[in-house]
């Protein structure tokens, strides 16, 4: 029995011991180190950092190991750890224009300043299982590298904005809301929406973003640019009073360019959907950018009747730690409520049958 009237404590202890045993697997095989996970399952680690909203690859790798590769469980572990960290303040906005770029592509221009940089990507691989990976071998030879380009790599959306073709965002000096401190309030402003999306579930946002491409919310998106690389994090400690650089973090940024046919107050132009996530997460950054643009429908005076355009629907349900908690809580005992429902249904059936007999 999964919860005996007595002996629950013993059962839980035994279950946890069994869990630890299955986590380790066959003891005849070498144990995975956290460093191996960090190095060789890097994209899983990045996803856990993004959804766990905590930039620490080592801790994310530990969470992946502890969670036996269940990435939502790992994100949950990281979130729970994050709760314990003190909050010193807000950093300066990241300058992704000054990113040290590993990958940068634009789908809107064949060539542009800074060039197209493919970087390490699955995009043009043929998805044929590579059986040579089943045998341990020597590490692959280093990929040939062109001279690093020192020329600046301006953002595509900025190039369009200078021509007046891209709507500029409203700058704000206000400190953005913090979802980890304040509950969501509706209508949520864009900064808070982006924050929720940045830590939202990749699969959920992917499905929603996809729906906007298939007619549920009229998207006409182009990938203006995706860039992946390291950016500096700068912070002004109140006791110092001047800005210092704390270090670099790896991020993926996606700027989607969307057509906007204009309104009474705005001329026709392109509008932006924005995605930014920790680590290397293009699918997530792209999905986020699609959904961000979807959520701007009302503000831009467009029809907003598709799921991806509904703030409450998207923001309340994109958090996988919340979602998995509530879905999985159905496993918990519900005897009391169920008992009352049993009695209720029995009574209703009795009267229905009596009525039928008459």
């Amino acid at each position: 029995m999964y919860v005996a009237t007595k002996g629950g404590e013993q059962a839980i202890g035994a279950a946890h011991a069994w869990l630890a045993e299955t986590r380790r697997g066959d003891a005849a095989l070498p144990e995975l180190s956290v460093a191996q996970i960090e190095e060789q399952l890097g994209l899983a680690v990045d996803r856990v950092m993004a959804e766990g909203s905590c930039h620490d690859r080592g801790l994310a790798a530990l969470a992946v190991k502890q969670a036996k590769g269940d990435l939502i469980e790992a994100a949950f572990l990281l979130r729970a750890y994050r709760t314990t960290l003190p909050r010193f303040g807000a950093t300066a906005p990241l300058d992704t224009g000054a990113m040290r770029i590993r990958r940068r592509i634009s789908a809107t221009y064949k060539d542009l300043p800074g060039g197209q940089v493919l970087g390490p990507t699955f995009d043009y691989t043929h998805r044929l299982l590579d059986f040579s990976l089943t045998a341990a071998g020597l590490p692959p030879e280093a990929a040939s590298q062109a001279e690093p380009d020192t020329a600046p790599t301006p953002r595509v959306t900025e190039l369009l904005a200078r021509e007046g073709l891209m709507q500029r965002e409203q700058p704000s000096e206000a400190e953005p809301g913090d979802l980890t401190r304040e509950p969501l309030r509706f209508p949520a402003d864009r900064a808070v929406r982006l924050q929720a999306l940045a830590r939202g579930d990749e699969g959920f946002l992917l499905g929603l973003g996809y729906s906007t491409q298939r007619g549920y919310g009229n998207a006409h998106p182009f990938v203006g640019e995706i860039r992946v690389g390291d950016v500096a994090v700068c912070f002004t400690p109140p006791e110092l009073g001047f800005e210092i650089e704390l270090g670099d973090i790896g991020v993926t940024e996606c700027q989607m360019v969307n057509q906007f046919k204009g309104s009474r107050t705005e001329p026709p132009q392109f509008t932006r959907g924005y995605g930014l996530v920790f680590g290397h997460g293009e699918r997530k950054a792209m999905a986020m950018a699609l959904v961000d643009r979807g959520l701007r429908a009302a503000e831009l005076g467009e029809e907003a009747d598709a799921p991806a355009q509904q703030q409450e629907f998207v923001l309340y349900h994109c958090d996988n730690v919340e979602a998995t908690g509530f879905v999985e809580h159905l496993k918990l005992p519900h005897y009391v409520d169920f008992q009352s429902d049993l009695e209720n249904v029995r009574t209703m059936r009795e009267s229905a049958m009596k009525a039928a007999a008459e």
């Binding site: 064949k110 060539d111 300043p113 060039g115 493919l118 998805r127 380009d149 298939r214 007619g215 046919k261």
Partner: protein, 308 residues
């Protein structure tokens, strides 16, 4: 154009005369059936193609397979190409009009590996041309087949997302919704504000998505001597336009269809007729325009060089 590491390079062009011609057949990877798909799958796809040809513009559902390239990369086009390819075919693959675009390079390499067919960059030499987003500038001929990669086969999907409903509309040729949409464009903007994936009527019966080619290319579809096949892998639909079939871009008598093209000459070959790509050269507003069809541009440059 694209480098594996940070390195800018000028837009491609200026290929020598001798390059780009048909490459001899390659050794086909014998671990896979010819052209990857098994023969019964090919037969199923050929039946869908034949049905499509028999009912021009009508979307035929087919049992689209998982392919070793992702949905959205051209799995529909690849399946159509795989089903019609024979060992003596000469294949050309373009994306955005160019043979050297990453995705075109990848698909061409795929067919070299699994079918071992000859490939070419010359439009005139190809028997099968798989394309994403363009129709070559050079007039295609009888005996050639143009295979389009199609993301969304349903021309009405932005107006009606439910497939059961659009199927009914096609059955009844009930296309009022699309005409109203175009009319609303004119009422709001003074012209039809659709610049690519511009809807067409095929043989006066079916409304069809031409795939996201620029509207500039639409007139080339009309009474084209080549067979046009359209494959949508993710949406699992195939459709076709047989040779010499009437394809009309939707418009109104007082607002005739007008293809859009950047009003410039190609910086490489000087063409004022071809469709142009805008290439940004610096971050101070510098830009040039070059032909999107690299074969067309190369040929014109070679002719010009020979004349000089």
């Amino acid at each position: 154009m694209t480098s594996a590491a940070a390195k800018p390079s000028p837009p491609s062009g200026g290929r020598g005369l001798g390059e780009g011609g048909a490459q001899g057949a390659y050794a086909h990877d014998t671990g896979y059936n010819f052209a990857y798909l098994d023969e019964s799958t090919k037969r199923m796809i050929r039946r869908a193609i034949l049905k499509g040809v028999a009912i021009p513009g009508h979307q035929v559902p087919f049992g689209s397979r998982e392919m070793p390239l992702p949905y959205g990369w051209g799995t529909g086009g690849i399946q159509v190409t795989a089903s019609i390819l024979g060992p003596s075919d000469v294949l050309k693959v373009i994306d955005q009009g160019a043979d050297d675009t990453t995705n075109a390079v990848s698909i061409r390499a795929f067919f070299r590996r699994v079918a071992g067919v000859a490939t070419t960059e010359r439009t005139a030499e190809a028997t099968v041309i798989q394309t994403r987003h363009r129709i070559p500038e050079r007039q295609l001929t009888e005996g050639q087949i143009l295979v389009y990669q199609v993301p969304m086969p349903e021309p009405l999907f932005r107006l009606e997302a439910r497939v059961a409903e659009t199927k009914r509309m096609h059955a009844l040729a009930d296309y009022g919704l699309m005409h109203v949409k175009l009319y609303e464009d004119i009422a709001r903007h003074g012209h039809i504000a659709t610049s690519y994936n511009y809807p067409v009527m095929v043989d006066g019966r079916y409304l069809m998505s031409p795939s996201p080619i620029p509207a500039f290319d639409n007139p080339k579809m009309d009474r084209m001597p080549a067979l046009q096949l359209f494959g949508a892998g993710r949406e699992k639909r195939i459709y076709a336009v047989p040779p010499y079939t009437a394809v009309r871009s939707l418009d109104f008598e007082d607002h005739p269809f007008r293809p859009i093209r950047a009003p410039h000459a190609c910086a490489l070959c000087g063409s004022r007729e071809s469709y142009l790509d805008e290439v940004i050269t610096d971050d101070r507003g510098g830009k040039i325009f070059v032909c999107s069809d690299t074969d067309y541009c190369t040929e014109r440059q070679a002719t010009k060089a020979a004349a000089e």
